[in-house]
């Protein structure tokens, strides 16, 4: 990005400040980037009291190194760990990738609200396209250093410390960063085609064709050689980097900054839907469901998030199988992992309102949390059931394995949900950047998930005894989740009203 694009405004006399790369807006691209960096840093440090955010890279480094050492000690092949870290980097890039499906709603609701700079193109002679380009470049660099770099320290845990460690970590970081950037480029591409009026179904078809294309070109080994650049050739990695750059730049060129959705109308569905729900909180639940259904991407958003999780984990299972020849019990494995989609589902359910909005009505904060839990069950159950069924059929699970996996899926989803609501309240997105809350959540997840995954890998297919133990574990954790989410209301009520 050269920063020479003409602004959308009048382009009055530039006040030459910092850098030689001036645009007609009078603000150089380098200066704009610096301001965006400062805003990003201040936003996070303001939100989490400074040190809690500053600690976050150290938490990631600690988790990565700790998990790597533990996996190596339990006999996991280094290649599997490397692939896993790349899958995580891609998932992190793709996390905001689901925002592509939300299009302008998500972009404006999340970025527009939080970022003064991003929204300033409406009032200042700054090109929105150029601003968005700088914003995304800033995001890539900021998170590439703050989040992806600590992940690269896993390399030191794999190879041990030596004189070559800095170089190894550097190369590992480049590889992870490239995959992370691929995820971000996909985000930009999806948003860009949305602003050109591409319908959701066409985007879905394009993604399906891309998956089929990858499969036709060699399946898993092809995906692995492309998405784990440090394993493939330098030419492949270079090609991926150039391709990512082309996609990102092309998407920015395609992005229509004047895109505005036409006014939408809807027939009255509130009363009918609310009447169907035989509960006291029916209006609150109905509002949440309609908000989800009518925002861009509709009710498919949580399903897409769960499907991305399924695809990433299925790829990882395939990689593990191809390297070690060990395949986990699919029911137990996918039941445990897919429950994690509770976090993204809850995130979607709280994306379009805030607790403050409800405090003008005669409802309590506990009522609001209860309604969100009901909405979570209504939306979350089909959201995870379909990917789970696909996984157990695809990976040929035994009946016992599939049954206990289903119990784990339901119990763990409720547990992860309860954990998220209890720790993060109404803002699940924000706690991703709060070191203390994130660590608490991670430990809470690990306590349930790690033993389950180990059991899923060790006893294949699961014995009846193991199935019974895991089933009881799933039920107990499900109850813990319900208790946690029930206590979240009073907990956040007390916090909010004492503010």
């Amino acid at each position: 990005m050269s920063g020479t694009e003409t602004g959308t405004g009048t382009g009055t006399e530039p006040a030459a400040r910092g850098g030689s790369n001036h645009a007609s807006s009078g603000l150089s691209f380098r200066r704009l980037l610096a301001i965006l960096f400062r805003e990003e840093w201040r936003m996070h440090t303001q939100l989490f009291g400074g040190w809690r955010f500053a600690l976050f890279p150290f938490v990631i480094a600690l988790l990565t190194v700790g998990a790597t050492v533990a996996l190596v000690e339990t006999g996991t092949a280094p290649g599997t760990i490397v692939s896993g870290l790349h899958v995580l980097a891609l998932a992190f890039g793709l996390y905001s990738g689901t925002a592509g499906f939300a299009g302008s709603d998500m972009l404006e609701n999340v970025f527009g609200r939080l970022s003064l700079l991003l929204s300033s193109s409406t009032t200042l002679p700054l090109s929105r396209r150029r601003l968005l380009g700088a914003f995304l470049l800033k995001d890539a660099l900021f998170y590439g250093v703050a989040f992806v770099l600590p992940m690269a320290l896993g390399s030191a845990a794999l190879d041990g410390l030596s004189a070559a460690t800095p170089l190894d970590v550097g190369l590992f970081w480049l590889s992870l960063f490239l995959v992370f950037a691929v995820g971000m480029a996909v985000t930009v591409a999806l948003i860009a085609v949305r602003t050109r009026g591409a319908p959701t179904w066409a985007i879905g078809v394009a993604i399906g064709l891309a998956v089929l294309g990858g499969w036709a070109m060699g399946g898993l080994s092809f995906v692995q050689s492309v998405l784990v650049p440090m394993r493939g050739s330098a030419i492949t990695a270079g090609g991926l980097a150039v391709g990512t750059l082309i996609v990102a730049t092309g998407s920015l060129a395609m992005y229509d900054p004047t895109y505005g959705r036409p006014s939408r109308t809807a027939t009255d569905r509130f009363a009918r839907l609310s009447d169907v729900l035989p509960i006291d909180d029916a209006p609150l639940v109905t509002k949440t469901l309609l908000d989800l259904a009518r925002s861009s991407g509709g009710v498919w958003k949580p399903f897409v998030s769960a499907s991305i999780l399924l695809a990433l984990v299925a790829t990882l299972v395939g990689v593990v199988d191809s390297i070690t020849g060990i395949a986990p019990a699919p029911g137990i494995f996918f039941g445990g992992v897919l429950g994690l989609s509770a976090f993204t589902t809850y995130n979607w359910l709280t994306q379009f309102d805030s607790l403050e909005d409800y405090l003008t009505y005669p409802v309590s904060i506990a009522d609001v949390f209860r309604a969100k839990r009901i909405a979570f069950v209504l939306v979350g159950a089909p959201t995870v059931a379909v990917p789970y069924l696909a996984a157990v059929i695809w990976f040929d699970a035994t009946l016992v394995d599939a049954a206990v996996g289903a119990v784990l899926l339901a119990g763990y989803a409720l547990y992860y949900y309860g954990l998220t609501v209890y720790i993060a309240g109404f803002d699940p997105n924000e706690f991703l950047f709060d070191a203390v809350r994130f660590m608490t959540f991670t430990v809470g997840v690990a306590v349930a998930l790690v033993p389950t995954l180990v059991a899923g890998f060790v006893v294949v297919p699961p014995s009846l005894e193991l199935a019974a133990v895991l089933g009881i574990g799933g039920l107990v954790l499900g109850i813990v989740g319900v208790v946690l989410s029930s206590r979240a209301g009073p907990r956040w009520d007390a916090r909010y009203r004492a503010k």
Partner: protein, 255 residues
């Protein structure tokens, strides 16, 4: 008994004291203007009176309820028009008013009647089935005004009632607020707009630094010898307030 009662109210956010010893009462039949500069404690006072936050000290009462200990009952009996944003998101105005009606236990027929009446009164009949998020800010404000009155409450708290409204609708809303208060209800209006306060309020309380610094009764738009603006400037910052720089064109060498 007063419709709204505030005694020795204190509320701090960390080291910042937002409200420090607020005292006032509002009777039924009054349209009370709560006038003050940014950060004077107006919104904190409203949030305390509607049970959204707990005070650090002092007592508040609204229509024989205690918002601190029974916030739901208080909010059931009052109407609230908040200052911020547009809560209804992806519901249409018709659906949103149904939502408010259900939450407030109103009969569907009554909600439908009220919806039709408010849509006609404020001119958003053609927008009743448009998603709220796609409405202009002025249209959104009209819907929010309707939700505050849909259950015909005895007390209404309004934060900046005329924000984003065109002059025609502003006049309509002002006339409505006056007539609503006259019908033995209490209307509590928090505003920065001195002209509006002078125009419609029966009594005005001026707040600064978290305290009520003075009150003025206004009869038929007559605020007395000293204009409300002069009184405001005097009481908010003393004589210094009159020396605020004017916003003139800056043609100096550094402009």
């Amino acid at each position: 008994m007063a419709a709204i009662r505030v005694e020795g109210l204190r509320k701090s956010y960390g080291s910042v004291e937002a409200v420090s010893g607020m005292e006032f009462t509002v009777e039924r039949g009054e349209l009370y203007g709560f006038l003050g500069p940014n950060g004077a404690g107006k919104t904190t006072t409203i949030r305390t009176l509607t049970g959204q936050i707990r005070p650090d000290a002092g007592t508040v009462g609204v229509l024989e309820t205690d918002p601190t200990t029974e916030p739901i009952e208080t909010r059931r009996r009052v109407g609230i028009l908040p200052e911020q944003g547009s809560p209804p998101s992806f519901l249409t105005p018709r659906e949103y008013l149904e939502f408010v009606g259900e939450v407030r236990d109103l009969r569907p027929e009554r909600v439908a009647d009220q919806t039709a009446a408010w849509a006609e009164r404020l001119g958003f009949e053609s927008k009743l089935d448009t998603l709220h998020t796609d409405l202009s800010r002025g249209q959104q404000q009209k819907v929010m005004i309707a939700q505050a009155f849909v259950h015909e409450p005895d007390v209404v708290f309004i934060d900046e009632p005329l924000a984003n409204l065109d002059p025609l609708v502003q006049e309509q809303v002002k006339r409505f607020l006056v007539s609503y208060a006259a019908g033995d209800n209490a209307v509590f209006v928090s505003t920065h707009n001195i002209d509006v306060a002078e125009d419609i309020c029966t009594r005005v309380g001026i707040v600064a630094d978290g305290q009520l610094v003075t009150e003025r009764t206004i009869t038929d738009g007559d605020a007395g010898d000293e204009s409300l603006l002069e009184l405001f400037l005097d009481r908010v910052n003393g004589a210094d307030a009159r020396d605020v720089p004017t916003l003139e064109r800056m043609d100096g060498p550094n402009a």
